[in-house]
């Protein structure tokens, strides 16, 4: 009952159990945080808007993105993954979401920012339905913790639309 093997086994089991409980409590402590993020996205320019040879519409645009996401950080946050997606409806698809730009915010200090950028990923439709269409821009964020449950949420900004004609 007191051999080295039994003592080592007992110690290992106990320490693993304690570690697991600590991780669970750490994750639960994230629920105490009440975030209040804000964001604004302006489309500065539609650079071009064409129909590809395969028949899909493609658009390139330049955006001004400003946001304050500092309230999302807790002591258990490793990083914040944010991305801007365009959401719209087409005759064939009830929902289309296209990610235009993303970034990783590693620390609270960087969570209040302003960036002027063109879309990082190509905005290609499944079809050619974009002319004159209205769409929303949503800023999504994913809180990646040091350990435990991941959270995600978004802010929806409405009122954007494509030009009526290709250019």
């Amino acid at each position: 009952m007191h051999s080295f093997g039994y003592r080592l086994n007992g110690l290992l089991t106990f320490s693993l159990t304690i570690l697991a409980i600590m991780c669970a409590i750490t994750s639960l402590s994230d629920n105490l945080n009440t975030p209040s993020p804000s964001a604004e996205i302006q489309i500065m320019n539609i650079n071009w808007f064409q129909k590809q040879p395969q028949g899909n519409d493609e658009v390139s645009l330049t955006m001004n993105i400003s946001a304050d996401l500092q309230s999302l950080f807790t002591w258990n946050t490793k990083q914040l993954f944010i991305f801007v997606a365009a959401e719209y409806e087409t005759p064939k698809n009830s929902l289309n979401q296209v990610s235009l730009w993303d970034a990783i915010i590693p620390a609270k200090e960087h969570a209040k920012f302003w960036i002027h950028t063109s879309n990082k990923y190509r905005f290609v439709d499944q079809g050619n339905n974009l002319r004159g269409k209205e769409f929303n821009l949503t800023l999504h964020w994913h809180v990646m913790p040091k350990t435990g449950k991941m959270f995600a949420d978004k802010i929806v900004l409405t009122g954007y639309s494509f030009p009526e004609e290709y250019r």
Partner: protein, 180 residues
Amino acid sequence: MGWIGDTVDSVKSIQIRQLLTQAVSLGMIVTSALIIWKGLMCITGSESPVVVVLSGSMEPGFKRGDILFLHMSKDPIRAGEIVVFNIDGREIPIVHRVIKVHERKDTGEVDVLTKGDNNYGDDRLLYAQGQLYLQRNHIMGRAVGFLPYVGWVTIIMTEKPIIKYILIGALGLLVITSKD
């Protein structure tokens, strides 16, 4: 020579009842582990409720050796979710983020494009020849939680199988030679 005689004696002196009791308790341990695993599969709705991150394509968020807890609900797949999927013809599941979603109005089926956070381009290069999007049946689950570093045990046992054999051999020896 006397040593061989001693071993033969001790083998003969093992009582059948004791041996059977040990075999049953070993069987109980193995089956309860299996019950827990299958139970987790039912609760999370995913074929594989826990996966180990094998590549660095999601750094700095997930590093090689982290484990992810998966859950698959009937909720529609939306952009930004981290999903684990299998490509036809490949056995290793891939953990990447959804960047594009096209959901059909009539059937509710969904076309999904994924990309690793740390990769430059999207996953079209990884998909099967001619495949442009993933569908729901390719996706094993959504990542909902994670634990760092714990997966290294699995990676070491897979990449250096000798360690797995040594471990199982040592455990087996321990069970047989223990007094209870």
